[in-house]
Symmetry: C2
Subunit: 268 residues, 2 copies
Amino acid sequence: MATIGLIAGGGRFPLLFAESARRAGHRVVAVAHKSETDPELAKQVDAITWVKLGQIGHLLEGLRAGGASQCVMLGSITKKRFFADAMLDATGVRVLARVAVRSDDNLLRAMARFLEEEGVAITDPTPFLADRLAPEGVLGRHQPTPEELEDARYGLELARGIGRLDLGQTVVVKDRVALAVEALEGTDACIRRGGELAKSGGFVVAKAVKPNQDRRFDLPAVGPDTVVSLREARGRLLAVEAGATLVMDLPRMVELADKAKIVLLGLR
Amino acid sequence: MATIGLIAGGGRFPLLFAESARRAGHRVVAVAHKSETDPELAKQVDAITWVKLGQIGHLLEGLRAGGASQCVMLGSITKKRFFADAMLDATGVRVLARVAVRSDDNLLRAMARFLEEEGVAITDPTPFLADRLAPEGVLGRHQPTPEELEDARYGLELARGIGRLDLGQTVVVKDRVALAVEALEGTDACIRRGGELAKSGGFVVAKAVKPNQDRRFDLPAVGPDTVVSLREARGRLLAVEAGATLVMDLPRMVELADKAKIVLLGLR
């Protein structure tokens, strides 16, 4: 039984992680962010420390006190919010001063580097989440046409391409033409835009892991809401990277997709 | 005096090209597209043939009859429109059948390959447009701050990156974060989206040539309308690739930019 630290942001990921990790027999020591992290997390972990955004010194103490020499970072702490609301402690200022390019990834990498220097390694969360990752193949009842499969593969390739540039994770494709590419607006807004450009619907949405990040940060995630976005914009297929995309609630996703005649696909 | 063919789409480019090329002493033989190309073009060229979208055989005859053994393609013929409205003649069907991936560039490349096989080479229009390309440096009255210059360089690098993927040409950046990336929606819509995400404005728009295209197709272009889009979205700087971006009306652009306190920048 290993002790694993959990630096928790907002949303359901930290809770899913805690549940999966403890089910696998691990001890989970969380550092949670006030007004970001779901207070429910306290019930799902073995120890919890609450910090404000930017209190990196305090965060490190929390992990050390809990005996975690490795940890994962999960949940949303948007950069936008970070720069607006952060209460930097002295350590926080020191860490941020080293970030030259303020992209999400660079910010997180600087924080990871700092924690590693202090003896707490940031690790890939996916091994703890195996039962939450998208499987390969067709996940629901509906099968893709050969053209849709081709669009899905092309979309996934483009999504990796924009990920390599540290832009977004999502691309909307129809008939081998990219309709919309995600930057800061988020997956749902990107899907809506695709729907506006493909007035008759029938497009493919592909979501991929950024190839040059090591899966420690910002795993792509989908859930029932993603299917609802596709349905509303009249999308036809959702392709995700198998084995590397967090799925929030697969049974519910499949149910919604089957009903809306949407194809769900895990691709490698 | 060389004879140069002009395959003309919509918008002002074909007219600007004809004017510049004839001013430089060339004979211009145009093939224009009904309901796409400005009828004014007839007055600006030495010979003109009108075709419908997709009448590639007819187009080739027009160029040959005019004695053009090289030509340029300029002006908008959107792919969307092409597939909706094209009246393919037998040659058109033959050319299109060879296009596997229906991206803009691939479509144009297939057409260029066909014309070359038939003895009409598609050539880079920029040498004929030297007086219409963006110069290097600050073009108006307002200077960029060091941070804005950094954002502009970063944006141009990203714009080349998305161009390499055969996506759009435009990226909106603020504080080293990409806010919006263009796919099919067009430059103005991309700028508007950037403005919505950067509520306080002050962002940078960068537009670049697709690096792996040889400038024969789809040159990036800006004009007074681009400055108006920036002004409305409260953008602060427009960076274009010097020597490779068509400028529709530089004096008017500078006038508008100066008035709106927008920085205009040509970068290499």
